[in-house]
């Protein structure tokens, strides 16, 4: 069943004018409006994600991937568009209170920058506990055992649970973010560059852990990455973005091995 239905997601940074959308995009090779100088970070981005499905979003730096991720994670407002989550209607339209509820209980986000995802002065366990506390958990013993379980699932050493997250390795911090993201059994998890900044061997284990959990819990996932191999390993379907627009979409292996759009072909060729 469709969990997330995103329709026409658009984010314009700046004043915006009537020419913004018509004068930017891949065919103009720019995302800055020549009329008003606004940046069209993403425009008219539409897709669906089902339960248990992983959607990848790839594209070069600045193509608008993170903007889409931020909108979905309700971390940023969209200029236009809707994101309908099953049972909750258009969440972009929701007031602050309901957005927070949805973010706390139905969404999980793994941020590209650890500072956006974790409070490093808290313990690793405290970071995960925060998500439970936000969702109304008030029994300390229950919280402790849930956090412990999440540490085990994401393979973070449980005996480090009460150490400050600052003292964790990059891979551990990423795992703690994953633990936090799945803490409330969300329907949707958004990962923004889940492996950047990690050692190659660590990357692999983080990906494997996430994929296992994702399949086990049947959670709809959006993974944003400029690393095609990450998307190839995780995603069932993929969107290719350029200058804020989707230029190609399809089954991941199809897009990687039989790219149709000129830009996708260049992108694929440039990594092999």
């Amino acid at each position: 069943m469709t969990f997330l239905d995103a329709d026409g997601l658009t984010k314009v940074y700046g004043e915006g004018c009537s020419a913004c959308l018509a004068t930017t995009g891949p065919e103009y090779d720019r995302n800055r409006c020549p009329e008003c100088d606004s940046v069209v970070a993403c425009a008219d981005v539409s897709f669906e994600v089902r339960d248990g499905e992983v959607l990848g979003i790839v594209g070069e730096s600045g193509s608008g991937k993170s903007s889409v991720a931020e909108i979905l994670a309700l971390d940023a407002d969209a200029t236009a568009g809707t994101a309908t989550i099953r049972g909750h209607g258009d969440v972009l339209d929701a007031d602050y209170q309901r957005r927070r509820e949805i973010r706390d209980e139905h969404l999980g986000m793994v941020h590209q920058h650890v500072h956006d995802g974790l409070n490093l002065s808290f313990t690793g366990g405290g970071n995960v506990a925060e998500k439970l506390l936000s969702a109304g958990w008030r029994h300390y013993g229950d919280i402790r055992s849930r956090v412990r379980g999440l540490f085990e699932e994401t393979e973070v050493p449980v005996d480090r649970m009460d150490d400050s997250a600052e003292t964790y390795s990059g891979g551990m911090q990423r795992r703690v973010q994953i633990a936090k993201a799945i803490a409330n059994d969300p329907g949707l998890v958004v990962l923004d560059e889940p492996t950047t900044g990690l050692d190659v061997s660590v990357q692999a284990r983080v990906l494997d852990t996430f994929r296992r959990l994702q399949r086990e819990q049947d959670v709809a996932t959006v993974v944003v990455s400029h690393d095609l191999s990450v998307v190839r390993l995780l995603a069932d379907r993929v969107l290719v973005m350029r200058q804020g627009r989707i230029v190609e979409a399809g089954l991941t292996d199809r897009v990687m091995e039989d790219p149709h759009h000129e830009y996708t072909q260049t992108l694929i060729n440039s990594i092999i």
């Binding site: 927070r100 313990t123 405290g126 925060e130 506390l133 029994h139 300390y140 009460d162």
Partner: protein, 329 residues
């Protein structure tokens, strides 16, 4: 308490007018009093919510109770009986100064007897004796926002209050239990008011926190430096923040008793005697004196009812309030 105010402008400006000695009645100009009363009324209507007001300069340094004085002087009328306590004691220089200011400018009677006062201004304590619906307790507040413990940004904290988003505070409690095995907050223990606003009860000990719940009297909290007033009206639900399995606990003094009156059901502080020996004594000096005269004097002796819930050692079973606690981490 405003019905006994001076009635004419002449009276206000007449420097020879009895007790006013060149100042307006109750020191503050009428505009300021109205401003403070308005803020107080608003605070009472939204229990636990911090209401800003135009805090004035007072003839004391900020941080010495300038907010409390503005609140008290705005409430006092000539028929009121005023008591001022500073950390449980009526005798401190600061308490005496505030009392004198009210006496000379507002023409009121003062007292040290909690049960005789209609308005009590206090710093860091709630009296041991049960307050009634005829009484107002004005608490001096140095830090208005409980959330400042977890985030220094008042801007962000205002947004949190607006949406009752207190998860940061809860994480702080979690971290405290992880580190200390219990919530490591002594004074200024955060409370939820009417299930809506997180509130800093001012630096009262945990001992006094249960008294805020479902009380007969009105509590007014006033901060001069931060220019905020908030309130707990009578019979408001006030709950200290605590985990279900790590209940809130008050201070306990084991086997200790007050050296002067023998009380074991009052908040004790350790004092050094003239002989250099350390002993425990009631922190609420006026109640201690009563107990010294009559060791059976109950905290609700002045009332017709008895067994009134007023913190530890009263009608409520402190153990019931304290909960079971302790469990593995």
């Amino acid at each position: 308490m405003t019905d006994a105010e001076p009635e004419s402008l002449e009276e206000l400006h007449d420097p020879s007018s009895e007790g006013l000695e060149g100042y307006n009645y109750a020191y503050l100009d009428e505009h300021t009093k109205r401003e403070v009363r308005r803020a107080t009324l608003k605070a009472i209507s939204i229990p636990g919510h911090q209401v800003p007001y135009a805090s004035r300069a007072m003839p004391l340094a900020r941080g010495w109770g300038t907010g409390g004085i503005q609140a008290s002087l705005s409430l006092l009328g000539p028929d009121d009986v005023f008591k001022v306590i500073d950390q449980g004691s009526d005798a401190s220089v600061n308490a005496a100064n505030i009392r004198r200011l009210a006496e000379t400018t507002a023409d009121i009677e003062t007292t040290t007897d909690t049960t005789a006062a209609s308005v009590i201004q206090t710093r860091h304590r709630i009296p041991e004796e049960v307050l009634t619906d005829d009484q107002i307790l004005v608490l001096q507040v140095p830090v208005t926002d409980a959330l400042r413990r977890v985030d220094g940004s008042d801007d962000r904290n205002r947004t949190r209050h607006a949406h009752a988003d207190y998860s940061k505070m809860w994480v702080a409690l979690y971290e405290s239990v992880v580190q200390w095995g219990e919530v490591d907050i002594g004074a200024r223990y955060p409370v939820m008011v009417e299930g809506r606003y997180l509130m800093d009860p001012s630096p009262i000990p945990r001992w006094d926190v249960p008294k805020l719940h479902d009380a007969d009297n009105l509590f007014v909290f006033a901060a001069g430096r931060e220019a905020r007033i908030y309130a707990i009206p009578p019979h408001t639900d006030v709950e200290p923040l605590a985990f279900e399995d790590r209940s809130f606990r008050v201070e306990h003094f084991d086997e200790e008793a007050c050296d002067a009156c023998g009380s074991t059901d009052t908040f004790l502080t350790e004092v050094e005697g003239e002989d250099g020996e350390r002993r425990f004594a009631c922190n609420d000096t006026s109640f201690c004196e009563k107990r010294q005269r009559n060791s059976d004097c109950a905290k609700d002796d002045h009332l017709e009812r008895s067994d009134i819930a007023w913190g530890p050692g009263t009608g409520i079973d402190p153990n019931g309030f304290v909960g079971d606690g302790g469990e593995d981490i």
